[in-house]
Amino acid sequence: MLAEKALDLIRELKRTSGGTLPPFNEDKIRQVLEEVQTLFEQNRDTAKYAAEGQHDVLAAIQLRHAGIQRNKRCLLAYLYNRLENIRRMRWEFGSVLPADVKYNMCEHEAQWFNQYNRLLANYMRSIGESGGLDLTQDMKPPKSLYVLVRCLMDHGEFETQDGTVILLKKNSQHYLMRSECEHLIRQGVLEHIVQ
């Protein structure tokens, strides 16, 4: 069916609307592009007849054109949504993405990601006082400066900003500054206990 493959791409997007990035479906994109190409060539051929005064082919041309437009829109939506996804991950995971996400990006996306990274870093450095401001932290206003955490694994020693060294041993509980242990919570070393 016309534009069926493009719809597949959109469906794929919908299926993976979690925190993951599916592999870049280059194969399908090529197929859609080929379809667009054939539709365009067919239109070009039939357009000759139209020019010669055969008005009954006009409807076919319209239909094929609509197909081309639809394919284009689907492709753009696919690419745009992936970029959005990557951008969201930048805010969530920080400047270094997990390996599996990186592996699933196509070359252009990786390029875009690097540029976005640079832009964001430059901007964050320019605002705030001397040291800049990390905008990615505290996306929601925190309820308290400190959080209660539990160690899920033996992590070894951890030095806080004020220089004290804390031993993160499995099943010990600590009351720490939120900003300091946030990345450890993300890594799964610590568990945040909500009371």
Binding site: S144, L145, Y146, L148, R150, G163, T164, V165, I166, L167, K169, K170, N171, S172, Q173, H174, Y175, L176, M177, Q195
Partner: protein
């Protein structure tokens, strides 16, 4: 040194500094720790909590975490040993000990700089005076060295120095005697959680949740036979005034209070374990005083129980249902009926009724303090060997958290299993006549390879088992002296290493004191026989030893106690 003003000398000092909190493995310390945690979080005091099971772990945990720490809080551990000598801390480290174990080590009491005791003053009145324990010997030794320098002649006729030496000998003899008298019995003081709650109260930070934790802590002490009933009642009275202060409602406001708020009420509870979550028959069987008085492990006892139930007018099929599913009018009558007919079956009011508190929270069925204690201790001392002790600790922490109903339910289930295994173990002790009199005391061993022996490797559970066994033995024994005999229980601890846990509990007729002399006795027996017993536990009457040394050790124990 004893801290008189908790707020000024303890709480204000630790502000803005990182605190290390070391917590022992029992429900009371857990509750105390949770109260302290709440206070610290209110004031943003940074802390690290490490649970410790015995002295060895205490030492290890301190070494690992001591870096940069100035203040160490010890909850229910460390008071009975010389903590400075054990841990060898740097000079700037301060220890704050909130421990219910008595007697407190004299070095801790008289160390004015590094050790602060968070305890009630009136409980430490028996401690020997400073002059009896320590004296400044520098003068003496100085003289002595001088004497040896100037020569033999002078020393010989120096009457003054002879007198001094004589006096010194007398003093040191007296010191040994005083110290022995002081450390002869181990007992328990006010629970750590109640002390912590008092602190919270003084800081005006007490809430219903904290009050509940204090109640659970106090109940834990009573359930594990640490405090006598008088002391328990005294604490309950104190707590009751707090309860009425916190749960007071004006007559008109009654409807405005949300169901989701936590409510505590004083109640004359039935002293049956977990009865709100169990069937009536089961809970009666597992209640220690009734099971012993009616001898429920025998066929005759079961018949007597049925008779008792029949007389109360409770149909059997109702009693075999979950308590909550019984007919509503029967259920409400149970307490009154039992009190009406108990005297006929030789039951006292103390066996049946326990003044306690219950908690209402949301629409779930209400929970009483003993439910909390039993379920958290069952999780804390779970028989599952695949879980580490610290896993259990965190799990038990979660149970005490309000609103964790699913964990609470799992805890109740574990508690039932634990109660059941204690009961069957006692039953098999009696049926096989394993409780043997050794003259001055009774002893019993849990056989290796018993199905539930993993439960009895934990201290609190083995105390309960020992107590149940002793009470049951006294109920069936024809020997009149049984009441005045203590019991020693041995249980296999780690089979691959061939070690056992040995617990000694005092005789029943001294029950209104609950003082235990086994700590000292075990120590002497181990010394006399040169066995390598480990006095690692915070309770000195619980020791660990090689199973092969057992007979030697017991022979020595017999001769000591005679």
């Amino acid at each position: 040194m004893l801290v008189r003003d908790f707020k000024r000398e303890f709480y204000d000092v630790v502000q803005h500094q990182r605190v290390l909190v070391l917590v022992a493995f029992d429900v009371d310390s857990l509750c105390g720790c949770k109260i302290l945690q709440y206070l610290f979080q209110c004031d943003q005091v940074l802390y690290t909590i490490v649970p410790v099971t015995d002295l060895q772990e205490l030492e290890k945990a301190f070494l690992e975490n001591a870096e940069g720490i100035k203040h160490v809080v010890l909850i229910n551990c460390g008071a009975t040993v010389d903590i400075v000598d054990l841990l060898q801390p740097e000079d700037h480290v301060r220890f704050y000990i909130c421990d219910s174990h008595r007697p407190v080590d004299v070095h801790n009491f008289y160390n004015a700089v590094q050790v602060k005791l968070l305890m009630r003053e009136d409980e430490l009145s028996t401690i020997p005076t400073y002059d009896e324990l320590f004296r400044d010997d520098s003068e003496d030794s100085g003289n002595e060295s001088e004497d040896s320098d100037t020569g033999y002649k002078k020393k010989k006729f120096d009457e003054e120095s002879i007198m001094r030496r004589q006096e010194k000998r007398r003093w040191s003899e007296n010191r040994v005697k005083v110290l022995f008298d002081y450390t002869k019995f181990t007992s328990y003081g006010t629970s750590a959680s109640l002390v912590m709650f008092d602190l919270a109260w003084k800081l005006s930070k007490d809430t219903n949740t904290l009050l509940w934790l204090a109640i659970v802590g106090v109940t834990d002490q009573y359930i594990h036979f640490k405090t006598p009933r008088d002391k328990y009642m005294e604490d309950i009275l104190t707590l009751q005034s707090h309860v009425s202060r916190h749960n007071q409602r004006g007559g008109d406001n009654e409807n405005t209070l949300s169901i989701n708020s936590l409510k505590i009420s004083f109640e004359e509870e039935l002293n049956f374990p977990l009865y709100r979550h169990w069937t009536l028959i089961d809970t009666i069987c597992h209640s220690m005083p009734i099971a012993c008085k009616l001898r429920l492990w025998s066929l005759k006892g079961q018949k007597r129980l049925h008779e008792f139930l029949a007389e109360m007018g409770l149909p059997l099929n109702q009693c075999r249902q979950q308590f909550g599913a019984m007919d509503a009018n029967l259920r409400s009558e149970v307490k009154g009926k039992i009190q009406e007919f108990m005297s006929k079956y030789g039951l006292d009011i103390q066996d049946v009724i326990l003044p306690s508190f219950s908690l209402h929270y949301g629409y779930k069925s209400q929970l009483c303090a003993t439910d909390y204690v039993l379920s958290s201790i069952a999780v804390l001392e779970s028989g599952d060997k695949s879980r580490s002790s610290t896993d259990n600790f965190l799990e038990a922490c979660d149970i005490l958290q309000k609103g964790c109903t699913d964990k609470m339910e799992a805890g109740l289930l574990a508690a039932k299993l634990q109660l059941r295994s204690i009961y069957t173990q006692v039953q098999s002790f009696l049926e096989m006549h394993q409780i043997i009199s050794a003259g001055p005391f009774l002893y019993v061993f849990v056989q290796e390879g018993t199905a539930d022996s993993s439960y009895f490797t934990h201290p609190q559970c083995s105390i309960r088992l020992a107590r149940f066994a002793l009470q049951a033995h006294c109920a069936v024994s024809r020997n009149k002296r049984a009441q005045s005999l203590p019991l020693v229980l041995g249980a296999p601890l780690r089979q691959e290493e061939g070690t056992s846990l040995v617990v000694g509990i005092p005789p029943l007729d001294t029950d209104d004191e609950r003082k235990n002399f086994f700590g000292k006795a075990f120590e002497q027996a181990a010394e006399a026989t040169n066995t390598t017993a480990k006095f690692n536990n915070f309770d000195s009457y619980i020791i660990e030893m090689k199973s092969e040394d057992k007979s030697k050790f017991f022979d020595a124990l017999i001769s000591i106690l005679q």
